[in-house]
């Protein structure tokens, strides 16, 4: 099973579902996938963290890079399903200001109209 899966939801929204520990290895896979999707014009993105137990700065860098390129292309990236510990890392670094963060994937999908 690939470390990061994705699928197209409704309205051309692409949901990315990493699973496990978001250390350097998984972050690299997430970065590759997000940049590939964005280059393909798929810039309405949800990253669902429900299955992510751990987030290191390598994961944050992948998210920052994806936010920069999606916004440059007129799209958006929304983060969903963060556990309190994963969210704490975003808050400690101040990056929670950079992203729209919602409790669940369903709420993330509702943000796109």
């Amino acid at each position: 099973m690939p470390p990061v899966e994705y699928y197209e939801s409704t309205k051309n929204i692409w949901v990315v579902t990493p699973a496990g520990r978001m250390d350097a290895a998984l972050a690299s896979a997430l970065d590759d996938l997000l940049q590939t999707l964005i280059q393909q014009g798929r810039t309405r993105l949800v990253v669902d963290f429900e299955k992510v137990s751990y987030l290191a700065s390598s994961g944050l860098k992948a998210l920052i890079a994806a936010r920069r390129t999606t916004h440059a292309a007129g799209g958006e990236i929304v983060l969903a399903g963060l556990s309190p510990r994963v969210r704490e890392v975003l808050e400690i670094t101040g990056l929670d200001r950079l992203f729209r963060i919602v409790p669940s994937r369903a709420e993330a999908l509702d943000l796109f109209v």
Binding site: D23, A24, A25, Y54, S57, R85, V89, T93, L98
Partner: protein, 141 residues
Amino acid sequence: MVETTLLVPGRFDRLESITDFVARAARLAGLNESSVYHCELAADEAYSNIIMHAYGGENRGDIQLTCQCEPGILTIIFEDHGRPFDSGSIKAPDLSGPLEELAEGGLGVHLMRQLMDEVKFDPGRDQNRVTLVKRDHSRVP
């Protein structure tokens, strides 16, 4: 004091064994689960920095990890023989500036400093050392 040491090749696929080793030591020191998680994350950042910056990539040298456990205090020491690299000289990201101009560099060191009570970098010609300390403030000042 209980001291445990682990010597591993500098490879990202060893990250989980590194953080597991640190988590066991943190629990042995009596830290709470939130602090255990902070120690795991900080160790991840320190180890990754050594691979990327001191060795300039994977499989270029070994990294020695030592955990010193005292009641309510965990000291984590990383030692490598890569090029002298002072992570302490890396500036923290400027979070007060425009978000679009935020640089990704320095996030790991910034995170380590936020998570731990002490973070010390000792770059050297023959050996670099990174020391991280976490205290249970309900037990020790």
